[in-house]
């Protein structure tokens, strides 16, 4: 029986690429004391890897739950929802009181709020099934704008003088990942990944859509809700670390499908994750070392991702 070796080959190539980029990130242009450089760059690298992995996994999972290759949590407003949850929490307790808390505690509270709120959002968005893709997309996009506007409004109300400080916090850059959250973020992302591994075959079935999934014996409601909790946790981690990024996940997932030419999650998930890591680590290195210009990575990602999104939409419209 002829077996398709392409996914394995693609994964191996991506693995090598990622490893090479990581090595370069750690060593290129390093001057002086290694005892300082390694931990310093290592923390930065860890941040980028966690963000990339969280965004890639949450996107692929979301596309599986919705049986669609265009929808992503960020595009459907989940990222903005996290910002809104965070802002609501600050509004409720006051910014001075919040300053006294451990940031990890605040993050945990945000994540819990986020899980509950995203369940409600998902139920509302998909209450009529996913038949009418464009409307659901448009509603998701506008919901995202609404959340963002509400968050901005609340931030203005909180402290008009410190508004810029607050928005800076929400739009942290890849270069300034909050280090105090790295530990808890790695732990959460690691746990979710471990939880996913035995579920890979079930995810493959889920990607066939609700009717086929139920027919093949999935407890659809429970499974989707469980995956959604995982997505919410991953989104919470990535937004808390770098703020919302609209198109990055879409880019990673689309490229992963192209690269492995398979729909099996055991290929797509690692591929998406490796591609995301390569894009972030490689892009950050390129901007820092070659162009000496390090704030713009997210802008470039949004620019390229937006073009990919429109291309996907147009291609889909043609079919």
């Amino acid at each position: 029986m002829p077996r398709n070796r392409r996914p394995q080959l693609a994964l191996a190539a991506l693995g090598l690429l990622t490893a090479g980029l990581i090595l370069a990130f750690m060593t290129v242009g390093a001057k002086g004391n290694w005892d300082f450089i390694l931990p310093f760059r290592g923390r930065k690298l860890l941040g980028l890897v966690i963000i990339a992995h969280a965004v890639a996994c949450s996107t692929v999972l979301f596309q599986t739950v919705t049986s669609n290759r265009i929808l992503t949590p960020a595009i459907m407003g989940f990222d903005s929802l996290f910002v809104l949850c965070a802002t609501l929490l600050v509004t409720a307790f006051g910014s001075t009181a919040m300053a006294g808390f451990d940031p990890r505690l605040i993050f945990a509270a945000n994540a819990v709020l986020m899980v509950a709120a995203s369940m409600a959002l998902y139920r509302w968005l998909f209450r009529d099934g996913t038949e009418d893709l464009h409307r659901i997309l448009l509603i998701g996009v506008v919901v995202g704008i609404l959340f963002r506007s509400l968050a901005e409004f609340l931030q203005r109300m909180l402290d008009p003088n410190e508004f810029m400080v607050l928005t800076d916090m929400m739009f942290a850059s890849f270069n300034a990942v909050p280090l105090d959250l790295l530990g808890v973020a790695s732990l959460l992302v690691g746990l979710v990944t471990l939880w996913l591994i035995p579920r890979l075959p079930r995810l493959d079935v889920m990607a066939l859509g609700r009717p086929v999934g139920i027919n093949l014996g999935l407890d659809w409601r429970r499974e989707t809700m469980a995956v959604l909790v995982a997505i919410s946790v991953l989104v919470s981690v990535s937004v808390a670390l770098v703020g919302p990024i609209l198109f990055f996940g879409l880019m990673a997932a689309a490229l992963a499908h192209l690269a492995v030419g398979s729909s099996a999650h055991r290929h797509v998930l690692p591929a998406a994750s490796l591609i995301a890591v390569s894009l972030l680590v490689g892009g950050q290195m390129l901007l820092e070392r070659v162009f000496a210009f390090d704030t713009a990575l997210r802008i470039l990602v949004e620019f390229a991702g937006g073009i990919i999104f429109i291309t996907l939409l147009v291609a889909r419209g043609r079919r």
Binding site: P2, Q63, S67, N68, R69, L200, P201, R202, D204, V205, A207, L208, G209, R210, P211, V212, I214, N215, L216, G217, L218, D219, W220, H257, G261, S262, S263
Partner: protein, 252 residues
Amino acid sequence: MIRIQNITKSFGRTQVLQDVSLDLPEGGVTALIGPNGAGKSTLLSIIARLAPADGGRVSIDGLDAHQAPSADLARLIAMLRQDNHLTARLTVRELIGFGRFPHSGGRLNAADQAAIDRAVAYLDLAELQHRFLDQLSGGQRQRAFVAMTIAQETKYLLLDEPLNNLDMKHARAMMRLLRQISQDLGKTVLVVLHDINFASCHADRIVAMKDGRIFATGTPRQIVAPEVLADLYETDIPVHDIDGRRIAAFYD
């Protein structure tokens, strides 16, 4: 046996199913017919636990279709819908392999591979098995999906309007296949059909529905009769005997 007891269902204010009760014995092909909006597809979806009922219960060999673990039911009953659009890009063999999921949980062993081989052979898909689904014609794709339900090795098979979008040749082949499946593999087949002549020629039993209720049940000879059809479809339909089969002539 599939036992349907007092099923009711409404969407908003429209009552789609009103107190439907029906016993489907094992074996043979049963055709579900009736005018548009009679509730045929809804009933099928409720039996296959794709939609919840507002009231009543469905039991399949004693298992409650909406209470029993979905995984157990998946080894007992399979359903094929008319719209089988997939986002995932799969080969025919991969798709058929998913039919083994209820048995294997996703890790295919030798027995699963053998079942897949049988399904591939049964539907004559050996040539196509490594092609991607989106490279197939509509009729071929339909066969691949039927092969998936065969590999699922369930006792019951439900199909919702499987002849939609098929030309005469493929429609006829599909109906022959369903009969063959029920004879060779001992499956109980329940199929929603629009064309009553296919029901008349290929079904062992016909269940006619109208306005969310069971209108009549019987053999093709009993149901495909002018007086029954006139009431069912509210239009006069002459019926002819051609080579020992009842054929409704509604094309004039």
